[in-house]
């Protein structure tokens, strides 16, 4: 039986939709995954030396123990959002001749091999190796490592128990904030309370039994709980949110564009992936802080243009590059209706325009870092409005990959193809190259004026450019329709 489960898992992995993606995306995702693992590994490997340097008068193990409570809470926090027990996958097993307890053990067991648990190992194994090399007692270090792994597993199983409750999330966030606050204002030293507890795991190897005990209890609770709710109207029931009707009457003033504008607004607010993108876009306003504050970048104009285009155009890039794939699920209906394609595109253009303007206003405080920064951002915003919006809409007609709107946005590469990478060349590369060249050959003022001029020119010919884009969409209609029908593209 166990062998069959393993086989099932093997096939699920190698036949999954994401595995069938094009080679380019596979390589990209593998690269990102490796990068993350490598970063954590390097952190683990150098942690000993970092702690030695930061707190020379205390043992690194002791210092680390003091912070582990935050590590555990943060882990729970991330797991809450990103890790779900994949109960849906076992639906086909339910009516077959397999005891329920075995099914439950199977899904709980396979969650042990989730990537989240790997993160702890990748960080602490190098750390333990360094400790051993430094002559720390092997028994203590290895059992400590085991204890850390067991704690990660505890977090794993605890997460499944609390995952559906917002109260639990409140407690996690509350604890994180309260602990930090108590510590910061010197009211109670949280580190002093939890430090010895975690340190004990190292000092007394036998203490590993404590987390092991907790793990057994948590597993048992999970087991009991799942066994009880493993019904179609229990854990296997898909969640449905209550629909809130909105009439968005204010969009009326946009005339013929109104129905599409309403559709786009609902599209963005009612689907996970698009909604997340709005928040991510807003967060990217802070991207500038990373670079403007560093001396190295202070005189790199290319970098400033990159930031300007990027910050004011982040929604343009995130949302725009997948037009019209957002509508892929019902593109056939749209194409059989009497829709003015032009209005459909104008609505998208208007949304992106608004986003560029909003992002521009949000970047105004960067004037703190000098007038030049402000001028570059302004020029970039104008360039985005005039040139990049039509460009990104034009390239949209090359999109042939379907997007399922209701899927999780995290690490979701659905709808991505080589087109998305190619778009970035003209959208980002062109203005940077142009600006840097003009700045180098002539002057800053001329470079700014050219970017602004191009933007205004593009905006002036917006009607003509949109006509071209509309023609292109009509021309590519059948190819797009065919592409959007492929479910696992």
């Amino acid at each position: 039986m166990f062998k069959r489960f393993i086989q099932l898992q093997w096939k699920a992995f190698f036949r999954s939709a994401s595995f069938g993606k094009s080679v380019g995306i596979k390589i990209f995702m593998a690269f990102m995954g490796l990068y993350l693992l490598a970063s954590l590994g390097i952190l683990g490997g150098t942690l000993y030396f970092i702690l030695r340097k930061l707190v020379p008068d205390q043992g690194p193990m002791w210092v680390l123990s003091q912070f582990l409570v935050y590590w555990v809470l943060a882990e729970l926090f991330f797991r809450y959002f990103m890790q779900k027990l994949p109960v849906m996958e076992i639906k086909p097993l339910l009516i077959n001749n397999i005891p329920k307890s075995k099914i439950v053990n199977y899904i709980l067991g396979k969650s042990v091999f989730s990537g989240f648990n790997l993160l702890t190992l990748v960080t602490f194994v190098p750390f333990a190796i360094v400790l051993l090399a430094k002559g720390y007692p092997a028994l203590n270090v290895l059992l400590w490592l085991l204890a850390m792994t067991v704690i990660a597993l505890c977090a794993n199983f605890l997460n499944f128990l609390i995952n559906k409750s917002d109260v639990a999330l409140g407690i996690i966030i509350g604890a994180l904030v309260a602990f930090w606050g108590l510590e910061y204002f010197g009211i109670i030293s949280i580190k002093a309370i939890f430090g010895p507890i975690f340190h004990a795991l190292y000092v007394y190897p036998i203490a590993v039994l404590a987390p092991l005990g907790i793990l057994v209890v948590l597993y048992f609770l999970n087991f009991k709980y799942l066994q009880r709710v493993l019904y179609l109207d229990g854990a296997l029931k898909g969640k449905t949110k209550e629909a809130k009707s909105t009439n968005l009457a204010w969009t009326r003033r946009f005339g013929e564009m109104a129905p599409f504008l309403q559709l786009d607004l609902r599209l963005i607010w009612r689907n996970k992936r698009t909604k997340t993108q709005v928040w991510i876009s807003l967060l990217f306003v802070f991207y500038g802080l990373i670079f403007y504050t560093q001396e190295v970048y202070a005189n790199m104009v290319g970098m400033h243009v990159f930031l300007g285009i990027f910050m004011t155009g982040i929604f343009l890039a995130n949302f725009g590059q997948f037009i019209p794939a957002w509508d892929s699920a019902y593109y056939g209906m749209m194409m059989s209706q009497n829709i003015p394609l032009r209005k459909y595109l104008e609505s998208k253009a208007l949304l992106i325009t608004v986003s560029v303007v909003v992002m521009f206003f949000l970047t105004i405080p960067y004037v703190y870092f000098g007038w030049k920064v402000f001028l570059v951002n302004t020029a970039c915003a104008v360039y985005n409005l005039g040139i990049n919006i039509p460009v990104i809409l034009y390239f949209g007609s090359f999109n042939k990959k379907r997007i399922e709107l209701d899927q999780s946005p995290f690490g979701n590469m659905q709808g991505t193809s080589a087109v998305q990478f190619l778009i970035m060349l003209p959208v980002l590369g062109l203005p940077i190259a142009l600006f840097t060249l003009l700045h180098f050959l002539i002057s800053f003022e001329i470079a700014i004026s050219v970017l602004v001029g191009l933007g205004i020119l593009g905006y002036a010919f917006k009607g003509r450019l949109l006509d071209l884009v509309t023609e292109q969409y009509a021309h590519k209609k059948h190819a797009m329709l065919q592409g959007f029908q492929q479910k696992n593209g």
């Binding site: 449905t240 019902y330 056939g332 194409m335 209706q337 009497n338």
Partner: protein, 231 residues
């Protein structure tokens, strides 16, 4: 109303549809039957210009569908759930479609009120998005949406599948009425021989992309079809 001329659709070396000629007069209720892969949905997709023909063409009210878009104002369709917009409530969807077909909210409400029976209290005012409705209810919403805007041609692919018996019976009378009293040309495909024979004046059987039977419906039609498919 609809005229097919030497229509052929190939995928690679396979011909999935090959119709030399087919005329559907205005106001006819037209039934299309055939096994899986016979080409029913392909024909409907060609009619809606969702796929391009390999050779030949279709005319809808003298408009060549793959050349001009002038057929869109008087033609509506419900092919499958992909014609629905999952993140809208049924009402929002109806108003959106209404808007595309030049009908305001009041017009759409007036039309919807005629279908209260058909909806059986499961569509309107449910506080649910279309994606969260059951398959049968999704179908109901899609079918009614295709009646918005006084179309002259209505195309329904497998409208009876997934519907409960009461709704099936109601849909049959709706379709009959559309064709008989309002002169709407209704094209219906189905796997259920009983339903099509009841609803349609004329039935065409497709087999491997070709028309093998073209019958005026009569009392013997069901028998004839059953013998054909039975062996």
């Amino acid at each position: 109303m609809i005229a097919v001329h030497n229509l052929k659709k190939n995928y690679g070396p396979n011909t999935v549809l090959n119709i030399e000629t087919l005329e559907i007069p205005k106001g006819q209720s037209f039934g299309l039957v055939g096994n899986n892969g016979a080409g029913k949905t392909t024909l409907f997709s060609l009619l809606l210009d969702l796929i391009p023909p390999t050779t030949g063409h279709i005319e809808n009210n003298e408009v060549q569908v793959n050349k001009s878009e002038a057929w869109k104002p008087f033609t509506t369709a419900f092919i499958d759930e992909t014609f629905l917009i999952g993140y809208l409530t049924p009402e929002e969807y109806f108003y959106f479609i209404g808007e595309l077909r030049g009908r305001n909210k009041a017009d759409v409400d007036a039309l919807l009120s005629q279908f209260e029976d058909f909806f059986h209290g499961e569509i309107l005012g449910q506080k649910k998005y279309l994606r969260d409705l059951s398959k049968g209810n999704q179908k109901k919403a899609g079918i009614v949406a295709s009646f918005i805007g006084s179309p002259e041609v209505v195309i329904l692919d497998e409208p009876f599948a997934n519907l409960d018996p009461t709704t099936q019976i109601r849909l049959k009378s709706i379709i009959k009425e559309l064709a008989a009293t309002e002169g709407v040309t209704v094209l219906v495909s189905s796997h259920d021989l009983m339903h099509v024979t009841e609803v349609c004046e004329r039935i065409v059987v497709l087999n491997k992309g070709e028309i093998v039977k073209d019958i005026e419906t009569s009392a013997e039609t069901l028998k004839e079809l059953e013998t054909f498919f039975g062996g």
